[in-house]
Structures are given as structure tokens and as C-alpha cells.
């Protein structure tokens, strides 16, 4: 009788983590960038060095210029995102719960959703003026649609068994909405918030490039006009940080709001 060891196939089934590589990749890219710009192969007008961008950013922070732009942009985003999210959840919930509203609302949303929201900015400026209102409005619109559609989908995908269980224990319409449909939709609502955060950043920059005298979008466009590539890069880095921060914040919020998914 021949003896043979059990085959070792475990290697294919585990995915190893590489903590060093995670940091090394990003750090390597920055170092490469710095070195390339130092050799003078790439003129700073095209691509300033990372250290120059950092220095410029610190200088702008000291002068208070940076804070002004960031605060202005944050105000626009906060207002637009907040209004859009609230309206989106309310409409999505209503359309998801009531058959009549679904019949009315679905075709309207389907017809208006594909319009690129930035194309509406000129119209919004015509209606609301060149001031804050039109910028906030375009962000509100951009956030409203993903929120409404996601909330609606979440409500419609609420487990029928849970609805039956709730009804069997005497739950009324309002109880069903509050205690079954809304919590069922919550994961989709958060997915919508994350989508909306990306959209609102995009629309913010676009709106600020078209018609603004402050804000990060203005900073980027203005720096380009003046050939100040370093300041332009500061704006881009800021936007990337803003995107990272909003995603991180929403993920944290999600873990608090959906504790039953936390360690699933």
C-alpha cells in the first residue's frame, strides 16, 4: 500500500495582506514624482514638485486664502448635499410606499434623471441669479436623484416576509414605514449618500469654474489663468482630500447607523 500526503492546495485559497506594499506604493509614487521634477526633465510649469505644492499650500493656509476657499466650498456642498439628501429620501420613501405616487413619480424621475445636471446650471443661473442659490441648487439636484432612486429601490426591496411578520403583529401603515421599510432601505440610502457625495464634489467644482469669485473650483481655474500651476495643484489636492474625508465620514456614520451590519 502506498502512502501519500494529503495534497496541499491551501495556498490558492488564502489571500495574503501586504501592509508594507500598501504604504510603499503611494510613497514610491510621491518620491518618483519629486525626483522627476528635480531633474528638470519636467518643467515646473507643467508639473510642480510635491514639496513645492505642499509649501504653497502652507503659505496659502497662513495667509488665510486657503481657509476662505475651503469654507466657501464646504458651505455650498453642505447646503446642497443636505437639501438634496433630505428631499431625495423623502421622495424615494413616498414613491416606494404609495402605489399612486409610484405610478406618478417613476416616469417623471426616469425622464429627468438622465439629464446631466451641469447642463442645467445656465438655466438655474437664469432663474436664481449668479449668486450662491444657483450653485447650491445644482448640487441639490445632483444629490437628489441618486438619493431618491436608491431610497425607492431600498424600500421596494424590503423583505416581504418581514412586512408580513410586522402586519401579523398588528403594525399599521406608519409603523410599517418607520419600523420595517425605512430600516430596510438604510443600506441603500447610505450607498446613495456616497454616490451623492462624489456627484456633489463634481458639480461644486464645475459651478465654481463657471461662475464664482471664491471656492476651490475658482482657485483651480484662476491659478490656471495666471499660469500658477503650483496653486492649481493645491486645489486639486484639496479636492482629493475632501473626497477622501467625505467618504470616510459617511463610512463611519454608516457603521453607527447600521449596527446590525457592523460585524456581519
Amino acid at each position: 500500500m502506498s502512502r501519500r500526503a494529503a495534497p496541499d492546495r491551501a495556498r490558492l485559497l488564502v489571500r495574503r495582506e501586504h501592509p508594507v506594499a500598501r504604504i510603499a506604493g503611494l510613497a514610491g509614487l510621491l518620491v518618483l514624482w519629486e525626483l522627476l521634477t528635480r531633474t528638470g526633465w519636467i518643467p515646473p510649469l507643467f508639473l510642480p514638485s510635491p514639496l513645492a505644492v505642499l509649501g504653497s499650500g502652507l503659505e496659502m493656509l497662513r495667509s488665510g486664502e486657503l481657509t476662505t476657499h475651503v469654507v466657501t466650498s464646504l458651505e455650498r456642498i453642505a447646503l446642497g448635499f443636505g437639501l438634496g439628501a433630505l428631499a431625495g429620501v423623502a421622495v424615494g420613501l413616498a414613491v416606494g410606499v404609495f402605489g399612486v405616487l409610484e405610478a406618478i413619480g417613476n416616469p417623471i424621475i426616469a425622464a429627468t434623471f438622465p439629464v446631466p445636471k451641469i447642463a442645467l446650471l445656465p438655466l438655474l443661473i437664469l432663474w436664481l441669479g449668479i449668486g450662491e442659490a444657483s450653485k447650491v441648487a445644482v448640487i441639490t439636484l445632483g444629490v437628489f436623484f441618486p438619493m431618491a432612486i436608491n431610497t425607492y429601490t431600498g424600500v421596494r426591496h424590503a423583505d416581504p416576509l418581514l412586512i408580513r411578520a410586522a402586519v401579523s403583529f398588528g403594525a399599521g401603515r406608519w409603523s410599517l414605514i418607520r419600523k420595517v421599510m425605512l430600516p430596510s432601505a438604510l443600506p441603500m440610502v447610505f450607498a446613495g449618500l456616497k454616490l451623492g457625495a462624489g456627484t456633489s464634489l463634481l458639480l461644486l467644482v464645475a459651478a465654481e469654474m463657471i461662475a464664482a469669485s471664491s471656492g476651490i473650483g475658482f482657485l483651480v481655474l484662476n491659478a490656471q489663468n495666471l499660469m500658477e500651476t503650483t496653486r492649481l495643484m493645491v486645489g486639486i489636492v484639496l479636492l482629493s482630500l475632501l473626497g477622501l474625508a467625505s467618504h470616510w465620514l459617511l463610512s463611519r456614520l454608516e457603521r453607527v447607523a447600521i449596527p446590525w451590519k457592523a460585524d456581519a
Partner: protein, 260 residues
């Protein structure tokens, strides 16, 4: 509380909009504090019957009556579901309180009542767990506690243990009987498992396959408390044999047609 199901029929439209007769002329009674099991082959309308009793469906013909005094604020029925149907966003404690919330019981009282049934069902120490953190057996304890907490006159159980493994199922059956010995609800217990039906019930209603009608009502002459040792007794085996002989050919037909 006594349940009288009198000549009840129910049909519904299936996915291809054909009428499917689920139940036809079903008549039986469940006496107060009796535990009656309903068995039948796949697609005999067992779940339809429970939904009718819970008021989640309305019969096309016939009547369903609950006879007997009902204390104010006490619902006639509460249901225990096969797939547990716990709210994933609620802790065990909060799930048990759900029915009480809907009956308008004040928060403090709710907590006290829930605590009592959590202890009774052996959930002590698991109050703050979410359903996904509990085993199947523990989840169904929550389901049972949630139903018992509203103090229903009739407990409706829809294959409550069929999603559990065989060992857990046996233990849960005995535990349910022990709990029932204290709470004494009228219980209508639907299952496809003949052994389970005979082990649990005072009488077993045997349904035919679709359209479901009552083939026979088989009494189980085993004393209580029921214990595992009875599974080998002649009375037990005789009842199992009788029920199986009633539904064997029908189950075979159902298998051939792939009916669900």
C-alpha cells in the same frame, strides 16, 4: 380559546395568472388549550391555512371563528415563522418587544414582559445580540418569545423548526412543549414532518395535496409530558404509520410533478 374552521376554501392566481385552488372545504376545530398539528405533502396549502387564521388572507368561502372569552388588549393570534422573520435591525430584546409596541403597551411594562419571555425561552444573556449574531435555534427562541409576549389566545406556528438541524430541532420541540405546559395557549402547528407532528400534538389534521382538504384527523393517545423515549412506542409508531399511509401516494405524485 377554541378555533372553528368551517368549510373554508381559498384559491389564488399564480405567476401565469391561472387560478390555483389551495384549500377546498376544510373543516376542523381546535379546542381551547389543545395542540393540533397540520401535516400534508408539499403544496397542500398548509401555509395558506395559517395565513387565513392570522388574518393575512381572507377565505373565498367558509368561516373561521375564534370562540371563547378574550381579555382586552390581547390579540387572538400570534405567529411563529419558518424563517424566523426577525427584524435584523433590532436586538433580541427589541424583537421580543415588537408586538407589544404595536399593541400600545407602555415602554416600561414592555421591557418587563419581554424580560419574562426572554427568560422563559432561555435567551437570558442574549438580549443585546442582533439576529445575525445568534444561532438558528436561538433565533427561533426569539421568534417564539416575540409571539408569546403579546399573550395571544392562539399561537400559530408555521414549520417553526424546519430550518434547524435535526438535533437542535428535537431539543426545541421538547422545550416548546415545556413552555406550553406553563403558558397553555391553543396551538396550531403546521409541519411537513410526521414524527414531529405526532410527538407534539394532541391531534393531527392530515391534509391532501392541492387542493388541500382534510383526509383524516388522527388522535395521538400519548400521555404528557412527552419525552424522547416515546419515539419508539407502539402508539407513537402506529400514529406515524397511519398518517404516512394517508399521504404516501399523494407525496409521491407531488414528487413526480415537481410541485412545490
Amino acid at each position: 380559546m377554541r378555533i372553528r374552521v368551517d368549510n373554508v376554501s381559498k384559491s389564488y392566481g399564480d405567476a401565469r395568472a391561472r387560478r390555483v385552488e389551495a384549500l377546498t372545504g376544510v373543516t376542523f376545530t381546535v379546542e381551547a388549550e389543545e395542540l393540533v398539528a397540520v401535516v400534508g405533502p408539499s403544496g397542500c396549502g398548509k401555509s395558506t391555512l395559517l395565513n387565513l387564521l392570522a388574518g393575512l388572507l381572507r377565505p373565498d368561502a367558509g368561516t373561521i371563528d375564534f370562540e371563547g372569552p378574550l381579555r382586552a388588549g390581547r390579540p387572538a393570534t400570534a405567529m411563529v415563522f419558518q424563517e424566523f422573520a426577525l427584524f435584523p435591525w433590532r436586538t433580541a430584546q427589541s424583537n421580543v418587544e415588537f408586538g407589544l409596541e404595536e399593541s400600545g403597551v407602555p415602554a416600561r411594562e414592555r421591557r418587563a414582559i419581554a424580560r419574562r419571555f426572554i427568560e422563559l425561552t432561555g435567551l437570558g444573556g442574549f438580549e443585546t445580540r442582533y439576529p445575525h449574531q445568534l444561532s438558528g435555534g436561538m433565533r427561533q427562541r426569539v421568534g417564539i418569545a416575540r409571539a408569546l409576549a403579546v399573550d395571544p389566545a392562539v399561537l400559530l406556528m408555521d414549520e417553526p423548526f424546519s430550518a434547524l438541524d435535526a438535533q437542535t430541532r428535537q431539543l426545541m420541540q421538547e422545550e416548546l412543549l415545556a413552555i406550553w405546559a406553563r403558558t397553555r395557549q391553543t396551538i396550531l402547528y403546521v409541519t411537513h414532518n410526521i414524527h414531529e407532528a405526532v410527538f407534539m400534538a394532541d391531534r393531527v389534521v392530515v391534509l391532501s395535496r392541492r387542493p388541500g382538504r382534510v383526509l383524516e384527523i388522527v388522535p395521538v393517545e400519548l400521555p404528557r409530558p412527552r419525552v424522547e423515549g416515546m419515539l419508539g412506542e407502539a402508539v407513537f409508531l402506529g400514529a406515524v404509520e397511519r398518517i404516512w399511509s394517508l399521504i404516501k401516494s399523494q407525496a409521491r405524485e407531488a414528487l413526480r410533478e415537481g410541485a412545490a
